[in-house]
Amino acid sequence: MRQQAAVAAKVFIQRDYTNGTVCQFQTKFPSELETRLDKQQFEETVRTLNNLYAEAEKLGSQSYIEGCLACLTAYTVFLCMETHYEKVLKKITKYIQEQNDKIYAPRGLLLTDPIERGLRVIEVTIFEDRSLTR
């Protein structure tokens, strides 16, 4: 029998701008999650996400080659090729789904992929504890 639950609260993990405009999220553990989740677990998730976003925006040789090739073709390659950034975003979506399945769903939580929120926040939905209603 599938359980369905009520949304008790939502926590928003905001962006961390100390390193500029690169996409990074704050690793500070929100107090609302204290009863549900391990601090290390949460920080591990956010840190991995931050690393993945840093990888997407990395100024490496691959992104330069991609950029130069695009410039030479008047940027028409963007119409047919998936950029490195998009590839990493797919990886991030998969990672979040994995985390939700393994760690967050068993604890009554749900992570929303930041791309759904314009890379502004990581939305953590806290579902009501069904056992409290017994």
Partner: protein
């Protein structure tokens, strides 16, 4: 002693927000009902900003196209006249490379112009109501909603530089650094440079490189055509025939000469200005406001610059291109009324309020629901219906 037990929630049972690359998955199940009434709508159809969409949301332009038709018209007319009047003569008397070079430049100019005009400049989707409420809570504003409270700012430290983030009342969020709200398009745009009427769109993070390539190739094209026309007329006027005779022979060249002469200076100037901006990783907006020039006597430096001209250029022009954040072609969840974009999670919130009322209101009702052996449907909406029945 009450034991806290967390029951396994099947994430797939919940109205999960559809990821951008898996469009339509949710609509298979929940959208079935509304499909019979109306087709599932895409997010661009309810986009709150002042933009227009074509080709099913693939092309995005500002509401006012500005003078884009004039820009395109001038380029096409001048290039057309060049290929018709000047090229035949110059190919005969000089070299056949001239139309080739001209052709390549022309193609570059038109493609980059269209890309600048039709690409999402880096629009930030507006905050969902939940996010906005969360921010309001943090600001702790006790004023009522009928007047605009004083501007809210937040200070952050970026590379040891204090940067003030302003709150956008339209988009209901604190703008990230370098983001500005364009009043013509009614959107917050990341790394906002300026709203260009010639191109009919904002120039921001995602289309700045197209814009830069456009103005640089346009300055090359204009200078090239100007040079070729001058050479053509000089060659024709040789032998004492005079300039007037040459102009009479090739009237198209006169038109080109006038257009190119008046535009080459401004376009070259603009290219030079933007080359300076690219090399110092600045935006037109920041340069005009003097954000990092230290006018007020403070020790301010641009915190976004990589302190190296070459790296700055590489970053701005060849750096990674982020995808569009507004997901124009994504589907709206079936049971959503007119929304701001990306507000998928709203549905359970609406149901939540009524759900909590039901649950909190009477424990007998809840017990009754709990004991019922019937399988509970996935959507909270339907659960509400069954519990209130």
């Amino acid at each position: 002693m009450k034991k806290c037990e967390y029951q396994q929630i099947d994430p797939r049972a919940l109205p999960t927000p559809t990821p951008p690359h898996h469009r339509g998955d949710d609509d298979g199940g929940g959208g079935g009902k509304s499909d019979e009434l109306k087709r599932p709508r895409r997010k661009w159809e309810v986009f709150p900003g002042k933009n227009r969409f074509y080709c099913g949301g693939r092309i995005i332009v500002a509401r006012q196209s500005g003078v884009l038709p004039l820009t395109l018209g001038l380029i096409l007319v001048t290039s057309g006249l060049f290929f018709m009047f000047d090229c035949p003569f110059l190919v005969k008397h000089l070299t056949s490379c001239i139309p080739v070079v001209g052709g390549v430049l022309f193609v570059f100019v038109v493609i980059t112009l269209l890309q600048t005009s039709f690409t999402d400049p880096g629009i930030l989707p507006r905050a969902t109501p939940d996010e906005a409420a969360d921010i309001e809570k943090q600001i702790d504003n006790t004023g009522n909603a009928s007047y605009r409270p004083p501007p809210r700012t937040k200070e952050v430290l970026i590379n040891q530089q204090v940067v003030k983030l302003k709150y956008c009342f339209t988009c209901k969020m604190f703008r990230p650094p370098r983001t500005s709200h364009c009043s013509l398009c009614d959107n917050c745009v990341e790394r906002f440079d300026h709203h260009c009427p010639w191109v009919g769109n904002c120039v921001g993070k995602r289309n700045y490189r197209f814009f830069y390539t456009f103005i640089v190739s346009l300055s090359f094209l204009t200078a090239f055509i100007f040079g070729c026309v001058t050479t053509h007329l000089a060659l024709r006027a040789q032998g004492g025939k005079g300039l007037v005779f040459a102009l009479q022979e090739s009237p198209g060249s006169a038109v080109e000469l006038v257009i190119c002469f008046f535009s080459v200076w401004s376009i070259l100037g603009l290219s030079g200005f933007h080359t300076y901006l690219v090399a110092s990783n600045l935006t037109t907006n920041e340069d005009i406001k003097g954000s990092w020039s230290g006018k007020s006597g403070e020790d301010v430096t641009n915190p976004y610059s990589h302190k190296n001209i070459f790296i700055n250029c590489c970053y701005v022009l060849c750096g990674p291109l982020p995808p569009s954040l507004i997901d124009r072609r994504g589907f709206l969840p079936a049971d959503e009324s007119a929304q701001t974009s990306g507000a998928d999670i709203e549905v359970p919130t609406v149901a939540t309020k009524s759900e909590i009322n039901v649950v909190g209101g009477s424990s007998q009702l809840v017990n009754g629901t709990q004991e019922a052996p019937s399988p509970v449907p996935a959507l909270p909406n339907s659960h509400h219906d069954s519990s209130s029945a």
